[in-house]
Symmetry: C2
Subunit: 146 residues, 2 copies
């Protein structure tokens, strides 16, 4: 039945809605700022869920691929995720307390496109994030760890 649907979604295998994936999605949505998969996993376990770590990774990967989650590499090399509904944007992150501010940067977007085009690059994506000390941490006067 409805054989033309094949045309609509020929490549993507059917994706089922499972409690686990929903749990991950919600946990992510409830979290401010970026979290690592590991952190999200323990958070879920603390909340009584029995999701496995591998499942959390898979769910986050799926969310990120679908554009429902934002992902970036922390300076330590850990992958961080964040629920993301407002389309493409970048972040201003406090390296002391982790505070994250979403920033949109049209000028940077077009700059990236232009630079890529100038050099003949196609399918350009870009990584633009600003790390610093937020006002509060700056005021603390404490030097950051590093």
């Amino acid at each position: 039945m409805t054989p033309d649907l094949e045309n609509t979604a020929p490549r993507t295998a059917v994706q089922r809605t499972t409690k686990q994936r929903e749990a991950v999605r919600e946990a992510l949505a409830d979290t401010e700022g970026f979290v690592s998969a590991q952190a999200l996993h323990s958070q879920l376990q603390r909340a009584g869920s029995t999701v496995g770590l591998a499942t959390v990774y898979r769910a986050l990967g799926t969310l990120a691929a679908a554009g429902d989650a934002d992902t970036l590499q922390s300076p330590e090399g850990e992958a961080l995720y964040r629920a993301c509904s407002t389309g493409h944007h970048h972040h201003l992150i406090c390296r002391n307390c982790g505070l994250t501010v979403e920033i949109s940067a049209d000028s940077v977007e077009s700059w990236a496109q232009q630079v890529a085009a100038e050099h003949g690059f196609t399918r350009a994506a870009h990584v633009v994030d600003v790390f610093g000390l937020c006002a509060e941490c700056s005021a603390d006067g404490r030097r950051p760890v590093e």
Copy 2:
């Protein structure tokens, strides 16, 4: 003995010049584009050096800390290094063949500073890199691995 010397150099331990560190520095300088520590290590071994992997990591860490090397996280989470003498700049990297083009971006620099300042952030640093397919790889028409 000479107790007042403690006053002269209390914190920085003496740094010795060793063949290994020099070898790493040179290998890095001879390399175009970004290399991973692992790649640099095998390259050194192929060249006959006996440096250990841990030493390569230590040397790269030192170079990066001293500002003599550039470092960034690849999307795969690997740390990449590059000799860097031309001050602050960013990169346009082909995700298929690894070709790297240095790009300077005054507009982005000032934008980052401004955005940080707007939100009260201090000591701002930023990560700005553009990934794409270089002209050649685009022409190949082959879809990238991912």
